[in-house]
Amino acid sequence: MAGTAKLAWRNLGRNRRRTVITAVALAVGMSLCVASYGWMDGINADILHALTRFDLGHVQAHNPEYPREHKLKETINDPGEVEARAKAIEGVVGVSARVYGFALASHRTKSAGVQLVGVDPATEPTVTELDRHITEGRYLERQPTPWPRGRELTQEERAEDRRLTERAEADVLAEIDALSSERSGEDARHRASPPPSGERPDGSDTSQISRQLAAKVDPPPARPPGVILGADLARILKLKAGQTLFLISQTVDGLNAEARFKVIGIYRTGTSQYDRSRVYLNIVDLQRFLRLGNRVHEITVLTRSAERSARVAKRLASRVNGAAVLVRTWDQIRPDIKSMIQLNQASMVLMVAIIFLVAALGVVNTMLMAVFERTRELGMLKALGMSGWRILWLVVVETTLLVLVGSLFGVALGVGLDLYMMIWGINLGAMTEGISMGGMGLAPTIHAVITLEGVLAPVVVLALMCFLGALYPGIRAARMRPAQGMREV
């Protein structure tokens, strides 16, 4: 065995230049594969980060009906309990509840449909990083806005309301009559008819009384509640921090919800879904705006790592009432992102396979040449009694040594490239302002992620390919007839 190894080594040394070139080609191919794995794992990590750390978290709980149509009334009615149980699970880093709604947002002449997201400013930063991406103004206040509850009108108030309606109707009828009689020419008397309600001496009182009555049923907040929104949305609505935003929506029981809000901050995440169509506010404010009481739509959980999601989800599901709460992991909620990550990995494997094929062909080619130029020698060895198996073994060991040397340098070089990309990253900012994959915005600088699989897989695969490749020349050499071999020139 040792003898074969020495022999193999010497054989490689016989044409040093060829051996070195092949080994170098191998090393370069290997390093590119290792670096590509690092690069792709880096991109996938960024995608996952954008998804889980800006919005989704790793595990989410909803009302079982909610995922289908996202109806306002499909809520988790006892969020406190679910949150407490989630926090108690090992491996959980953060828990936060959310409320969602839709509204028409308008500012001066611009308007846009937006998704309203109510979050708890105290717990949300434990799950998402949004608070660290404020570009203008500041993050949400922890204290909800003082907002009194409404009540039904009393008998007396309702009677007053009816009187106001009758009055308004009478005014309008008088106005219509005045116009029609003008037309028919019965002027003089009717010219002195009373002006429309707003211009009456006590007209202002009427509308004030009316507003007061309405305010008893649906009181406005003490001051405009604060909201933060994405930079893209701010641009569309031509808004700056400190300005007022008007939101029109519907409460869970079908009433009109309309109020002024104050933009206290603007953020930028790079993902258009968040930057263009979301408005965040304090969860209590949104619950009051939509009359949801203390109900929520979603409870999101951040675990220590994405790999733990499934385990944590299972544990949470077993501890909550399954009828009232549906627990899912990020890849169950966004299978499209999971598919994209898998697609990235698959396309990487394909690329690696191609690189390896070429590299392996190089090795096979070298070994073929190495074998064929020694045909006479091998023939003689066979004539002297060396078995075919031992010749095959010789070729295999030669190939292995070649691959080993190439791999060693290849891995070293590859890991070196990975380390560079991991620490300094590659900045694609020059090519594009922001990259997004599957809608997820990525930072322009991609940092590689080194994994054991990313280093070992290329080595193992290449070794296998070369080994298989060496079989062809090896078997040919082994089956050679000594007499024929010795006759080669």
Binding site: L104, S111, V172, L173, I176, L179, R183, A214
Partner: protein
Amino acid sequence: MKRALPTLCLALVVSGAARADDLDRLIHKADTAARGDSSAGVMSMEIKTESYHRNYDMVIWYDTTNKKREKTLVKILGPAMWRGHGTLKMGDQLKLYNPRTNHVTVVSHSMLGDSWMGSHFTNDDLVKETELARHFHHKLLKKWKGKNELGQAATFYRIKLTPKPTAPVAWGKIIYVIWERGDVILPERAEYFRKAGASRADRTLTFSEVKKLGGREVPAKMTMTVAKKPGEFTSITYKKLKFDLKIPDSKFTEQALRR
């Protein structure tokens, strides 16, 4: 014989054209029965949905004398929660005023499908109200003699309206049933279909309570029902109507909207 054929063809074409004109006239008259060229009406609207039951008292001012820029102003007179809310339509533009927040919202295209003030009518209905003739082809499906709501003998027409290729309308097909009795031409129902091939209407507007208002025979009550939500409806009942008013231009301004 040689002369007769072209004349016969010409006669057929002319009579066909005449029929189409008749249809136009019928549809126009039925459509504008409660509106006229310019009018004002005081009415009440009742809305019943799964989540709430509401009543508005309101006034609508119409000025359709300028066909290029038809104007409508709606003002809600009560109850307190909605008193002062206004809707102003000028041509294709719709504005909504909320007195409680003192804010005017210009309705954008994305909002056209939204319900108007929580009713089963949409913002689009208000904007497109006056355009049945302009955007649709009409075809007479059936004509028959029958009895109208008041038990009087009348000629009924069932007309199919399909949108012209470039028409910006939300409906693939509308079936309009009109009846005619002498000078009186009124709608009985309109069925709206999203897809032209559908057999069941997505929503239906029925006209009832024909009586004399403002000197004309009009259906005092209109009820909109939606197929997907049985039990829900929005109905408008006219209390007073006056036609042919000379409404000042100042009635259709943002100022008037906010008053």
